[in-house]
């Protein structure tokens, strides 16, 4: 086993996809000779040629619109949006065409394409470089939405995304690009696309997390274990399709659930998960399903992002409020009374 970063895993996935299927094309801004600003496409133009991995003019709607036409024409485009917030000019193409062409044509034209987007914060990025934009995509029927938390998942989920008959928005947690893990990337894990992973088994409460929040949830579970509380950590891997089964099974077993996301909480993916959990697990729940999220504010400047991002302490505070004693938690009511 070698130490592999998520960035290397993604690069290897693109490399293997280009090598195995000549319909696969990689394009976007600076993805050619430079290898992308995060070097995810490093060496691909050199090794596969300008025909397979190439730079485009700087226009995101253009990149995605071009990819739609090329997917209609039989290619399998994998495009890169340079940063989360730079993908917004492409949103009309994504919401109105990428997501809908199969349905519009009654299944006659599918769009096998991947839109890779480095997303979320935690790297000290200035404004427009740290948005957690997953809810926009997850809310749009017709898209699959993926976000890996490990290098191994980054490789296999990207391979699956490229092979998928439907368009996939592939959200890469940029703060995890350089995290290393022991993996050979050669043996596929047991979990298929669309299934969540139980990263840590535990009996006391379920922490549901995805992408950049998974390592934070794992750290919180480590800390809780020192206090004798065993947290189960579920890594969703794919937001769409959503794995109700794994989440539901876990929460029914633990009876408690905290959903963690970096994104601002209001109308976010975590809200959807909390709703689904209480709809399916109500009679197993010993406490309300809690959300730990970013605040409902525009993403902060780099020096203040630590105050915004959900950390271990915020997760542990939520775990504390899961009514392990029989006393209902009334702190939020008291706070309301003071203000």
């Amino acid at each position: 086993m070698a130490k592999v970063t998520m960035a290397q895993a993604l690069n290897t996935a693109l490399r293997d996809a280009l090598g195995e299927d000549e319909r696969v094309l990689v394009f976007g801004e600076d993805v050619g000779p430079l290898g992308g600003v995060f070097r995810i496409t490093d060496g691909l133009t050199r090794d596969f040629g300008e025909q397979r991995c190439f730079d485009t003019p700087l226009a995101e709607a253009g990149i995605v619109g071009l990819a739609v036409g090329m997917a209609m024409g039989g290619f399998r485009p994998v495009v890169e949006m340079q940063f989360d917030a730079f993908a917004y000019p492409a949103f009309e193409q994504i919401a109105s065409h990428v997501a809908k062409l199969r349905n519009r044509t009654r299944g006659r034209i599918g769009l096998p394409m991947v839109i890779r987007i480095p997303y979320a914060g935690g790297i000290g990025g200035v404004e427009h470089h740290c948005d957690s934009s997953e809810a926009y995509y997850a809310h749009t029927p017709g898209l699959k939405v993926v976000t890996p938390a490990t290098a191994e998942d980054a490789y296999w989920l990207l391979r699956d995304a490229v092979a998928d008959p439907d368009p996939v928005v592939f959200l890469e947690p940029k703060k995890l690009y350089w995290s290393r893990e022991d993996t050979d990337l050669e043996t596929r894990g047991a979990l298929p696309f669309g299934r969540a992973a139980i990263r840590r088994a535990g009996r006391d409460a379920t922490i549901v997390a995805y992408g950049p929040s998974v390592p934070v949830a794992m750290a919180a579970a480590e800390a809780a274990a020192e206090d004798g509380i065993e947290l189960e950590v579920v890594d969703l891997r794919t937001l769409v399709p959503f794995d109700d089964e794994t989440v539901t099974e876990s929460v029914r077993r633990t009876g408690r659930c905290v959903v963690v996301q970096e994104a601002q909480g209001f109308a976010g993916v975590g809200a959807e998960i909390a709703a689904r959990v209480q709809e399916r697990c109500f009679h197993s729940l010993a406490a309300p399903v809690l959300r730990v999220a970013g605040f409902d504010i525009p993403y902060p400047p780099p020096k203040l992002e630590h105050a915004h991002l959900p950390g271990v302490d915020r997760i542990l505070d939520a775990v504390d409020r899961l009514q392990f004693s029989d006393e209902p938690d009334t702190r939020h009511l008291l706070k309301g009374a003071v203000t």
Binding site: Q51, G62, G65, M72, G73, E92, R102, K144, G194, F242
Partner: protein, 373 residues
């Protein structure tokens, strides 16, 4: 680049100073015939005339169907037949067309079943024909967004070594959209075999051209991207067909994209739901009526002895048969299965969609049962 070669490059990209035109409004040849374009053969003109007459009958029939509630809405292209038919006749069957909602007549001309064309506007589904089989993309509603798809399709044909061309249809309003400009730029950079055909019908719903652009003509939007451009009298079928045929061949030969602007006029309101008297004068409409593209071509062909009263009468009969077929097709109640709503969201149903599909199936069964009881 020397000043001389730069000047040549620029001149090669710029459109003619005035729109290319073979035939004047009264159907007689203009004094100064275009020298850069070949006038189409009489056989091609007769075929175009046939298609224009049929196309107009289809268009007026579709408008009539809105009044009977058989179509939810219809955006007419009456007055733009030279553009609608010229565009399609300039293409080969293996070329691709990327139309808008106003281009139904072009689709009928392309040979798509009229009922399938009207599926969108009837409200049965968002696209009624098979885009892969017909090489016609779904009629696009969000303005100019499909122009990028045309560039992508053109680029994919080029990369596969096919000599197909993609043609994108847009109106004057769409040239203000960002996607239009990104498409021109991408196409030029990749030298994609694509033709951008702007039907400048003078109105974007109610907003007149003067509020849309300060450019001398929309065709001048090509030069900034290095896209060769031309402008043409959009009500002169001879000119439209000649210019578009040349543009398609230019793209097919690997010489890069071409932008063609046709000056035409939308005779009807934006759709049947619109009231054009709120934003334009009847005098203006009357002036354009005198420039009618169908009459103009008919006069031209008659003056050349290529058309007789019998021909005209026979075609009129054929047009009535077409209209009757459209009426019959649209009067037949369509059979729709609400459960199909789930079937094409993804290649396979997600677990959630499977649940929701089952839920709707149960609701439908319940209401069917209630109706029986």
């Amino acid at each position: 680049m020397s000043v001389k070669s730069l000047r040549q490059t620029v001149q090669g990209l710029l459109p003619s100073l005035s729109p290319v035109r073979f035939v004047a409004e009264d159907g007689t040849p203009v004094a100064k015939q275009p020298t850069d374009y070949t006038e189409p053969e009489v056989e091609a003109l007769l075929e175009a005339w046939r298609r224009m007459v049929l196309g107009r009958r289809f268009d007026t029939q579709a408008t009539a169907l809105t009044k009977q509630g058989r179509l939810a809405v219809y955006p007419s292209s009456r007055g733009q037949e030279a553009c609608q038919i010229g565009a399609v006749l300039a293409l080969r069957p293996d070329d691709w067309l990327f139309p808008t909602y106003r281009d139904s007549v072009a689709l009928v001309t392309r040979g798509i079943d009229p009922v399938e064309v009207l599926t969108l506007l009837r409200g049965d589904w968002h696209c009624g024909y098979d885009p892969a089989a017909t090489r016609v993309a779904p009629q696009c509603t969000p303005l100019a967004t499909q122009v990028l798809h045309a560039v992508g399709m053109a680029e994919s044909m080029r990369r596969k070594g096919e000599d197909g061309v993609a043609m994108a249809l847009v109106g004057d309003g769409a040239t203000s959209e960002g996607d239009f400009h990104e498409a021109l730029n991408f196409a030029a950079v990749f030298r994609a075999p694509v033709v951008f055909f702007v039907q400048n019908n003078k109105y974007a719903i109610s907003v007149p051209l003067a509020r849309q652009t300060a450019a001398p003509a929309l065709a001048y939007k090509g030069i900034g991207y290095g896209v060769r451009a031309e402008q043409v009298d959009g009500n002169d079928l001879l000119a439209v067909l000649a210019v578009l045929t040349a543009a398609v061949e230019h793209a097919r030969a690997g010489n890069g994209p071409v932008l063609v602007e046709a000056h035409t006029y939308r005779m009807d309101a934006h759709t049947n739901a619109d009231d054009a008297t709120r934003y334009r004068e009847n005098d203006e409409v009357d002036q354009w009526r005198a420039a009618d593209p169908v009459d103009r071509l008919e006069t031209c062909l008659r003056s050349r002895g290529a058309l007789t009263d019998e021909d005209v009468a026979a075609l009129r009969e054929e047009a009535e048969e077409l209209a009757a077929r459209v009426r019959a097709g649209m009067n037949a109640d369509s059979v729709l299965d609400p459960l199909e709503l789930f079937d094409h969201v993804y290649a396979d149903l997600t677990p959630q969609l499977r649940e929701q599909r089952a839920q709707l199936a149960a609701e439908l069964a319940e209401s069917a049962q209630a109706q029986e009881d």
